[in-house]
Amino acid sequence: MEFFVQLLVNGISIGFLYGLAAMGFVMIFKSSSVLNFAHGELLAAGAFIFLTLVTWAKIPVFVAFLVTLAGSFLLGFIVERLFLRPLIGEPLIYVIMLTVGLASIFKGLMLLVWGGNLYIYPDFLPSTISLQWGNINIPPVYVVAIIIGLFFLTLFGLFFKYSSQGIYMRSVADNQTASLSLGVNVRRVFALSWAIAALVAGMSGIVLGIINGINVHDLSSVGLKVFPVVILGGLDSIGGAILGGLIIGLLETFTGGYLSPSLRDVIPYIALVFILMVKPYGLFGLVEIERV
């Protein structure tokens, strides 16, 4: 029983991180219909920026966290500005191929700078935020992951529901021509969605780095894991991305715990196939409002 609860909590916190990473992916897809294959690299970049700031520049952890978030935000912004904006109006496949190329470039750069070794962060999380019930011990990282997950979900939920900028972003996703006709700055919306996507990706990169260690290949492969998550949740639903993340996270930890650790990377895809057989648009794919 203790083992079960332990796995459950681990699964939920990993799930939240996948969900956050997937949320960024969905945001880009919703606003500009682009599948971002460089998402895992954005995530790894966040983890490495944080690593450099903490171990090399010796900046206090909390400040380093904020600086990393700002840096990721900027990175997303620059990527959109330099690489994607010139391709607005070109066929979608060009843009998607571009993100594949970006993924290789980022990965190469990171390997060049940091090499392929496994790094770990210095132990900075106070053990007081770990949770303890009887024999169940939840390490601080998982608590932090859940807190960050919940915090940012609420934050973005409110942002999209109530802020003007959030409503403009949804309007562009909904009907681009109509939002252009009302003077919505569509290019700004694209830039903002890339920036926010990079920010949440970077953040989940940091926390995943604390849990699993930091390695270019491992972290960028999370970008692939985002695919079952978003397809499961429905490509265009942010809530679905979170739920998909939780499902994949739980599936992974439970297979890893009860069956075999080597199966844990395969099971999500198997589950995906079965769920898609039943619900081809994903669990929360947008139901097309059709007026007859």
């Binding site: 003007s164 403009y168 949804r170 909904d174 021509t177 939002s179 252009l180 006709s181 003077g183 569509v186």
Partner: protein, 267 residues
């Protein structure tokens, strides 16, 4: 009082994808505070004219290749829609086009995009006053509202931008006659109370000429006729081809085969 016209289009040509020429030298003038109606059959170039003004040609790979569009004595042809909307030109697209997954109220808020950061509460009340059916639906998704409500929504949404020039593309499309009447009544009210200058593109020529001050008739990418609305209403060609009347004023009978042989004089 400013006496130069609000909008002056001088001999513009519009080409899509560098090859397909849709407008072949269109000129028109819109005086401040008037409703100008643009009539013509399908494919005559009415919508393209509106898009040339509002800058929405660009996403469709269209371009003004010749001529000038002066708005408030500034040239605006081929400018970006972000800039044109901020100068005060807002187009209401054909076929409604609401944001289906946003509520009515959120749809209206997108209308304030050109005035980002400014208060909009009072404007919102004004819209609900013009379009009372929207109040009780303010929290429901636009995708589930009726055609009449949506037409009101998209006009209201455009009004929130405080346009100087409002471009309406077929507001009567697919609506019941009574709803059409209601919408035209509101359009006229907006023009009278807000002083908004309006260009109205319509298939429903009878309705359009009732509320317009001036009218243009387009055919094959050219303006073929223009005049005061009442003059156009009396013009025998307009009566026959756009109002569905025989030259004598009675409803046209298709039994009279000869009426088919009558040619449009200007072609």
């Amino acid at each position: 009082m400013n006496t130069i016209p609000l909008l002056q289009i001088n001999n513009i040509s519009v080409v899509y994808s560098d090859v397909i020429q849709v407008l072949k030298g269109v000129s028109l003038t819109v005086e401040r505070g008037t409703i100008v109606s643009l009539l013509g059959s399908n494919g005559a170039g009415k919508t393209t004219t509106l898009k040339a003004i509002s800058g929405l040609l660009k996403p469709e790979n269209g371009r003004v290749t010749d001529g000038t569009i002066m708005f408030d004595s500034k040239t605006v042809q081929n400018s970006a829609p972000e800039d044109i909307t901020r100068m005060g030109i807002i187009q209401v697209l054909e076929g409604r086009q609401p944001f289906k997954y946003l509520t009515i109220e959120e749809n209206l808020r997108v209308g304030t995009a050109t005035r980002w950061g400014k208060p909009y509460k009072r404007d919102m009340d004004m819209i609900y006053e013009y379009f009372p059916p929207l109040i009780k639906r303010r929290k429901s998704l636009a995708g589930y509202c009726s055609g009449g409500e949506l037409q009101m929504l998209v006009i209201g949404r455009a009004l929130l931008a405080h346009p100087k020039l409002l471009l309406l593309d077929e507001p009567s499309l697919g609506l019941a006659p009574l709803v059409v009447k209601e919408i035209f009544r509101i359009i006229r009210r907006i023009n009278e109370e807000q002083g908004t200058t309006i260009i109205l593109v319509e298939q429903n020529a009878a309705m359009a000429l009732q509320i317009a001050h001036y009218g243009y008739v387009m055919e094959n990418g050219k303006i073929v006729m223009e005049g005061k609305a009442e003059e156009l209403r009396e013009n025998p060609d307009v009566r026959e081809f756009y109002l569905g009347m025989a030259a004598s004023g009675t409803t046209k009978s298709y039994r009279n085969v000869k009426s088919y042989k009558r040619r449009k004089r200007w072609l």
